[in-house]
């Protein structure tokens, strides 16, 4: 029974090779809103399953970091933004196993998960926006968004920064928390998480380079003002949440 729930948990808090299921599903779903819902709900299901565990095996956090590193590395070579989001989600959620091991409360863990998933969900919606405008969200094909659709580009940059755990977004504090908690007990694990973080930054920079910079392209419709402010509001809420998180941590 334990092994079955463990497998179930490994699917929803993705661990390789069970992580492939999520990515397969995510690639098949094309609707951006549905993708967003999946991104928000998926790790919460995983956390619900893990609540049944009294403890988790010692090797699991290590396996989780390795899974996270694998997907972060794969995200580096991806050009399809939808898949990139899926891989980044896998890489991020896998690290929840490390927090799980730190004895945090269920609510705290769920807040961590939501903090990680909201930027990913925004990313999924923006991916849909790119597909609608250009036929695909794909790096290196058009670029120059900063000049062509500056509002969209601005929001995209902020969301990507949130995904790759830049201060003061919740993801940043989640990563900080993992590393701080891991250093005394499993320093090698902390190093692994640091490496994953670096890979995220690299992947994010590549994504922005492939979309944002470059000469102006043929005109397409930019993000509406109302939509832009909606994104800004969510991002500000995330930052506020992140700052509050800092209080919790301290």
């Amino acid at each position: 029974m334990l092994s079955l729930t463990l497998i179930l948990a490994a699917i929803f808090l993705p661990l390789f090779p069970f992580s492939m299921l999520f990515n397969l599903l995510y690639a098949r779903v094309r609707n951006p809103w549905l993708r967003s819902v999946i991104l928000l709900v998926w790790p919460l299901i995983g956390l619900t399953v893990t609540r049944t565990f009294s403890s988790i095996p010692d090797w699991l956090p290590v396996w989780a970091v390795l899974t996270s590193a694998l997907y972060a590395l794969r995200a580096l070579g991806l050009r399809e933004v939808g898949l990139w989001t899926g891989f980044m989600a896998t890489s991020s959620w896998a690290l929840l196993w490390v927090l799980e091991n730190d004895g945090l409360s269920a609510v705290q863990l769920e807040l961590f998960a939501v903090g990680i998933s909201v930027p990913l969900a925004l990313m999924a919606v923006l991916t849909g926006g790119l597909e609608k405008r250009y036929g695909a969200a794909y790096l290196g094909l058009y670029g120059g968004l900063a000049q062509t659709i500056p509002r969209f580009a601005g929001v995209l940059v902020m969301v990507v920064l949130a995904v790759i755990a830049t201060p003061l977004f919740p993801t940043f504090f989640a990563m900080l928390s993992i590393i701080i908690k891991a250093i005394p007990v499993m320093p090698y694990l902390a190093m692994g998480v640091g490496l994953v973080w670096m890979l995220w930054s690299w992947a994010g920079a590549k994504l922005l380079q492939g979309l944002i910079v470059g000469p102006k392209q043929a005109a397409v419709v930019d993000l509406g003002m109302a939509n832009m402010w909606a994104y800004v509001a969510i991002l500000v809420a995330l930052v506020m949440g992140g700052v509050c998180w800092l209080g919790v941590m301290l």
């Binding site: 050009r79 399809e80 898949l83 036929g135 695909a136 794909y138 290196g140 094909l141």
Partner: protein, 1038 residues
């Protein structure tokens, strides 16, 4: 393995030919304006720009929207535009009953973007089907044939092997290669910027690089096996042969391959090409390099980078790429689409996945599906664009009903027209500029003067002189002339305190005579200057910067604050601290044999005295004249009398013998070196005949042969700016990118000499004794004109000096007032004194990226009497060369003007043209990102091609062209036959005119007729300057 001598020579010749389209690039400190397409000037302009666009991947005309802006501003001759459309349609069949004139005019004036899109697969029938809402036919076989042909062209003819690999596999070898080559070039060509320098540079570029590359661990870490390639190949030709045969490039394609390689970094290639030919250049003499070396380095690295990807089993030779195209065209096409960036985004991921899986059946399915969609997409987009354009012309309803053949003809016509549309706009803008000029010119000859002018001033032909000349003429009795800024005297100038010669003449000439600047009072270096040098030395060292920053960083902080917050006042304060240059004279008379001998002897004596102090520790009082003479004679091998001094010096004969040997070798006191010194001294100065010739020619060529005034100002020009690598681009082009004051001083000193005056008098130049040639410098940033050598003025002139200075100041202020709105459009009209202060600030403000507009806006080159345009403000758009054809019966003077100044003017004009139409490719982009490279060029960021053209801040304002890109409209005021004979006599100019690089007009003042050269013939424009509106012309049998 080494290749035969014949093969080596063949490779060298191939590279020589391949590099011809790439223009020279001179070092930045003497920036030379050049035509980026100089190598293509043998072709007609329209064909050359087409080839240049493909070779350098640049744009050669402005976008249509920019021309439409000019049209709205009234800068385009609409009648000429209509004429161009009519001419285009003249030899084309009609398209049904469509009004093609109206359609094309709509296309030009109302449609912002090109209508004809690049299509490969969609046919006219597909486009028409798409417009009619029908399905596009599937013709897979036909598509495959087209695709294969296009792949052959794109991958085997238009690209080098690694470029093809990049576009097939997304490897980005080209970028890596450029970076590595640039780093290698920076190492080798450094002129003192680096602290640690590349070893063995005296062996040449390739050999020095080879030695370093073989031991370069960074190459090994990157997986580049350079050693393997270099092991068996010592000479650059060997390596080139090896790489080209390894890459299996057929030998008949080598020249094209080399050209593409060279054009990739055309800035570096142009610099190396210039440097290899500049035999007098100090760094060439020390560290030789040429394009064969460059090609060998480049190809070695390219092969190594290709080798790095060998494990991916990809096509990485010309032959294997050909095989891929022939046997697996579907794979090659999908790869080309995906990695070449032309894929339809919606299918990009599917194609990428199919290519990764590499399953034949799947690839073929994806290919079929992609081609079908691509074709439909091309047809749809083309149809939409066409529909929009026809709607603007109110003809949209006509489109669907056109028969297929007519529809196809319509597309062909539109495509052909858009391909040559740039020339239509260009001609129409030039026509407007020409008409504007002709409406303002005055062909009435000047009347006789009742008295001589207060002062005459000879300015450079530079466009910036036009404004100051006009202002000067407006405030008093000043007569001005235009001449090339080196005043016709090619000089190799050795400035006081500098150890090298500077050529003060257009780069087309090589000066034979050297002029030395010598100090009047022989003062040494100033203490503050020495301190400054010391600080810079500390800054440039490897370790000292750490200590320096701690110790004296604050001093630099004060400097920074001063320069930033109050630049003008700070500069004035610094001027008190900085010592002024001492009074100097020019050594410009030829030395006699005796004088030269005496100088050599004096130098040798001084060297011996120094050597004795340093080597033997002798005090000055022990060094008698006799001793020095004997040592000198002995060192020169004339006698052995030195031995008798051994005792008095307190050293053995052997030691003294060794000392003599050191004098010969280390101190170069020997016969061979003395002979070389004598030869060099022989270059100093001009003979009296030469001086008379230069002065008389200078005066005659501008028509100044009578009515000489008391002051004859020779005004050179130069710019002043801080923190500006492009400063010399704003200096005098006729002086080789240097300030023009020295040239002015040379001619003034010659012309004021009594012996010269006497000989001039004999030649008919009746220059009064009270006429004095006064050199001056026009600071083009501040408009200030500073008189030089005032201490040489005769006392009789001093009473008039104040009036002269006040006149020059007034003209300068008015000129600043006129220029101010061009630099600060938001500024309202300011008082002249305020404008002057703002211009002065520009000159010393180190954050100012645009201290002045320089030659931007140049459009005309006018050769004729000043009266021709005196009454017409040209706002700094014209080069003005004074010329009086009455004094030039054999048109030799006109030929000289055409040979030098006009050609330089055309280079300047073309540099501005191409820097404006494509600032990123032919210009140098924004100055903000520039970094000085090796002290001879600038790069964008830390690694880039050498930026060869003009920066964006020089030709663009707010992202829009400030400079109007036109070909140089040249006007010669002279009888038609006279001018044509002169043009035909100068082959280079004749070629430029016939190929349309220069728009040539002749204004015949005797018949009051204008002749224009166009379409291979001269055309007469009757009474053009009286009714120059509208375009009409009749052929004139020349």
């Amino acid at each position: 393995m080494s290749v035969t001598l014949g093969q080596r020579l063949k490779i060298r010749s191939m590279i020589y030919v391949a590099a011809e389209p790439v223009p020279y690039f001179w070092p930045m400190r003497s920036f030379i304006h050049h035509n980026p397409l100089h190598g293509l000037e043998k072709m007609p302009f329209d064909a050359a720009v087409k080839k240049g666009a493909s070779l350098f991947h640049g744009k050669v005309f402005l976008p249509r929207s920019e021309y439409q802006d000019y049209l709205r501003e009234g800068q385009v001759d609409v009648s000429r535009l209509e004429y161009e459309i009519g001419r285009f349609l003249a030899d084309r069949s009609a398209v049904a009953d469509l009004d093609m004139r109206q359609l094309l005019m709509t296309l030009l004036t109302k449609t912002e973007s090109p209508v004809m899109l690049p299509t490969l697969l969609a046919t006219a029938a597909d486009v028409q089907a798409s417009l009619q809402g029908k399905t596009v036919h599937d013709e897979s076989d036909r598509s495959k044939e087209i695709i294969t042909a296009r792949l052959r062209q794109s991958l085997l003819q238009q690209r080098t092997v690694y470029e093809s690999v990049d576009v097939l596999y997304g490897t980005d070898i080209g970028t890596s290669l450029d970076e590595l080559v640039i780093k290698s070039c920076l190492d080798f060509f450094d002129e003192g910027q680096s602290v640690w320098r590349m070893p063995n540079r005296e062996q040449g570029f390739f050999r020095a690089w080879r030695e370093v590359a073989k031991r370069n661990i960074r190459f090994s870490l990157r997986g580049l096996h350079i050693q393997k390639i270099l092991a068996d190949h010592e000479t650059p030709e060997d390596v080139i042969h090896h790489v080209m045969t390894t890459l299996q490039v057929p030998e008949e394609q080598w020249i094209g391959f080399f050209t593409r390689e060279i054009a990739r970094l055309h800035g570096w290639a142009g610099f190396i090409r210039w440097r290899a030919n500049a035999k007098h250049y100090y760094w060439t003499q020390r560290f030789p390099a040429d394009l064969v070396d460059y090609m060998a380095v480049r190809l070695t690295l390219a092969l190594a980078l290709l080798g790095k990807h060998e494990h991916r089993s990809m096509a990485n030779t010309a032959e294997s790429i050909r095989e891929l195209i022939e046997t697996r065209p579907h794979e090659a096409y999908l790869r080309h689409q995906l990695y070449g960036g032309t894929v339809m985004p919606a299918m990009a991921h599917r194609i990428e996945t199919a290519l990764q899986r590499n399953h034949d059946g799947n690839l073929d399915r994806v290919f079929q599906s992609y081609v079908k969609q691509k074709r439909a997409d091309e047809a749809r987009r083309q149809g939409d664009a066409l529909q929009d354009m026809l709607a603007q012309a109110s003809m949209a309803d006509r489109l669907a009903g056109l028969p297929a053949a007519e529809f196809e003809r319509l597309l062909d016509t539109l495509r052909a027209f858009e391909q040559q549309e740039g020339m239509c706009w260009l001609r129409a803008m030039e026509s407007h500029a020409t008409n504007h000029l002709l409406q303002g010119v005055n062909v009435v000859p000047p009347g006789l003067r009742d008295k001589r002018p207060f002062a005459q001033a000879l300015f450079c032909i530079d466009t910036r002189s036009e404004r100051i000349r006009r202002q000067l003429e407006s405030i008093g009795d000043y007569q001005t002339f235009g001449t090339a800024g080196f005043f016709g005297v090619p000089v190799s100038f050795m400035e006081l305190g500098k150890g090298s010669e500077t050529h003060l003449c257009p780069v087309l000439l090589t000066p034979k005579n050297v002029v030395l600047e010598t100090s009047v009072n022989g003062e040494g270096a100033h203490a503050l200057g020495a301190l400054e040098k010391g600080l810079h030395a500390l800054k440039d060292s490897v370790l000292t910067p750490f200590v320096t920053v701690e110790a004296i960083g604050l001093l630099f902080g004060f400097d920074m604050v001063g320069k930033t917050v109050v630049p003008r006042r700070y500069h004035q304060w610094r001027k008190y601290l900085d010592k002024k240059k001492p009074a100097t004279r020019l050594l410009l008379d030829k030395l006699t044999r005796e004088q030269a001998d005496s100088i050599v002897r004096a130098v040798q004596r001084a060297m011996i005295v120094k050597a004795m102090e340093l080597e033997l520790g002798q005090e000055t009082e022990t060094l008698t004249d006799e001793l020095i003479r004997d040592l000198r004679e002995s060192a020169l091998g004339h006698d052995e009398s030195y031995r008798r001094h051994a005792g008095s010096l307190g050293i053995s004969e052997t030691d003294l013998e060794q000392f003599i040997e050191r004098l010969r070798k280390d101190y170069r006191i020997n016969l061979a070196f003395a002979q070389m010194q004598l030869e060099r001294l022989g270059r100093i100065g001009f003979t009296l005949d030469e001086q008379v010739h230069f002065v008389s020619t200078a005066l005659k060529s501008i028509g100044l042969t009578k009515d000489y005034s008391r002051f004859i100002l020779l005004v050179g020009h130069g710019s002043q700016s801080d923190n500006n690598p492009y400063e010399s681009a704003l200096d005098c082009g006729a002086c080789g990118g240097n300030h023009g004051l020295s040239s002015a001083r040379v001619l003034a000193q010659m012309a004021n000499k009594p012996e010269v005056r006497k000989r001039l008098h004999e030649l008919g130049f009746n220059i009064p004794d009270d006429s004095w040639f006064v050199p001056a410098l026009h600071n083009t940033t501040t408009d200030e004109i500073a008189i030089s050598d005032v201490d040489l003025l005769p006392p009789t002139h001093l009473v008039y000096l104040d009036r002269l200075k006040k006149g020059l100041t007034a003209a300068a202020r008015l000129c600043s007032q006129e220029r101010l709105p061009t630099l600060y459009p938001a500024q309202e009209q300011q008082e002249p004194a305020v404008a002057e202060r703002m211009m002065q600030r520009n000159a010393v403000d180190w954050s100012q990226v645009r201290p002045e507009w320089g030659l931007s806006g140049n459009a005309y080159f006018i050769i004729g009497n000043r009266e021709l345009t005196k009454q017409m403000p040209l706002y700094g758009r014209a080069f003005l060369h004074s010329y009086d054809y009455h004094l030039d019966k054999k048109h030799r003077l006109l030929e000289n003007i055409l040979t030098g100044p006009l050609v330089v003017g055309q280079w300047i004009n073309m540099e501005h043209y191409f820097s404006t139409v494509d600032n990123e490719r032919f210009g140098s982009g924004s100055k903000v990102y520039h970094n000085v490279a090796g002290r001879f060029g600038v790069m964008t960021g830390n690694i880039s091609d050498l930026r060869t053209g003009l920066p964006a801040q020089t030709v663009l304002g707010n992202g829009k062209p400030y400079h109007q890109p036109l070909r140089l409209i040249t006007v010669i005021e002279a009888p038609f036959e006279h001018a044509v004979q002169a043009i035909d006599a100068v082959v280079s100019v004749k070629t430029l005119v016939r190929n349309g690089w220069i728009r040539m007009l002749i204004i015949d003042p005797e018949t009051r007729t204008v002749y224009t050269y166009e379409d291979g013939d001269w055309h007469k424009q009757p009474c053009a300057f009286e009714s120059a509106s509208g375009y009409s012309k009749e052929s004139y049998a020349s």
